[in-house]
Symmetry: C2
Subunit: 196 residues, 2 copies
């Protein structure tokens, strides 16, 4: 029934190219020409396949969270809350200082796309961040290995504050090894230095 000319590109591969550009240059710093060039398609193809720039960014953010950023959701399944926090913090270092990916975190960058035209994109990013933090809070509420009297909500807030800070530091040029030392110190301070 459908017929029609088949598309000449792989949509997922094109999304990956778009992800690379948005991750490196941010939403506001990326033009449609940057995108079409990187994706290897022309403008009408982009619009037909992905909607406009804003919708494309939403698709890209999905892909980011399901791909490079998936460690954050996965970490919540660790058996102990200690391990959850460790995986989040150390994972943030690896994510934001990759050799083959841009420095920093796409989600953190998106929060800082604060021009008038970027409001929907920023709101979207903020919403997803809040959902992620709520999930961490619920995970910590369920934990039995927290220090007595610890507030899971505040604890979740601090963990996300630290991972956000790691992203900023990476975007600001701090290298992976240095950032690992910082992360280790943060974990020792947060969780104590004992083995379990």
């Amino acid at each position: 029934m459908p017929g029609g000319r088949p598309r000449s590109f792989d949509a997922d591969a094109a999304l990956d190219r778009a992800l690379e550009v948005f991750w490196r240059q941010g939403y506001e710093g990326t033009s449609l020409s940057d995108l079409t060039e990187a994706m290897g398609i022309n403008r009408p193809s982009l619009y037909a396949a992905f909607g406009n720039k804003e919708e494309l960014f939403g698709r890209v953010l999905d892909r980011y969270l399901e791909g490079p950023g998936a460690f954050a959701a996965d970490a919540l399944e660790a058996p102990t809350s200690r391990e959850v926090v460790e995986r989040l913090v150390l994972g943030a270092v690896e994510l934001t200082t990759g050799d083959h990916t841009p420095r920093g975190c796409l989600s953190v960058k998106s929060v800082h796309a604060c021009g008038p035209d970027s409001a929907p994109v920023r709101q979207d990013a903020v919403g997803r961040r809040k959902a992620g933090e709520a999930a961490l809070r619920r995970r910590l509420e369920r934990a039995t290995d927290l220090p007595p009297g610890a507030d899971p909500g505040v604890m979740a807030g601090l963990v996300h504050t630290i991972t956000d800070g790691i992203a900023v530091q990476a975007a600001g040029g701090r290298g992976r090894e240095e950032l690992r030392q910082v992360a280790d110190l943060a974990l020792r301070a947060l969780l104590g230095s004992d083995q379990r």
Copy 2:
């Protein structure tokens, strides 16, 4: 000798208006029309007084660091390293969640202006951040009240990671009171809960 028509606006007041706009919308998200409207001057006056957008931003960043951001340099003069860290972290909360100023930190936002045209501005911001962190590291190296075996460089990196994270959280909408609780928890973890 000089003569000439006197300028009809106060340059410092105009810089403050420009600061407000850049702080709220970021470098990339702010247009010259946004600036001239907020500053109450027209375009050629802006260029004559401040150079181009990039130079204006440099002047604004100076003013930010000497004004709202001055607490960070001042904190280094506290008598104990414990107090230095406290003033940095708590000061970051106040700075980024002010009722009459935009949410977040202009310096952290500038690191995330990562489009091709923003490279000089980003580099400038990164340079100033590194200088600030080097100053903190030197202050901690000189301290006598650090735990034995603590690495001042890594410690300085962690403190800046936390203040950066606070800025991201504020930009992402977390309120002042919540962020104070997060900061308090961070300080207890970093410095212990004892009184001195």
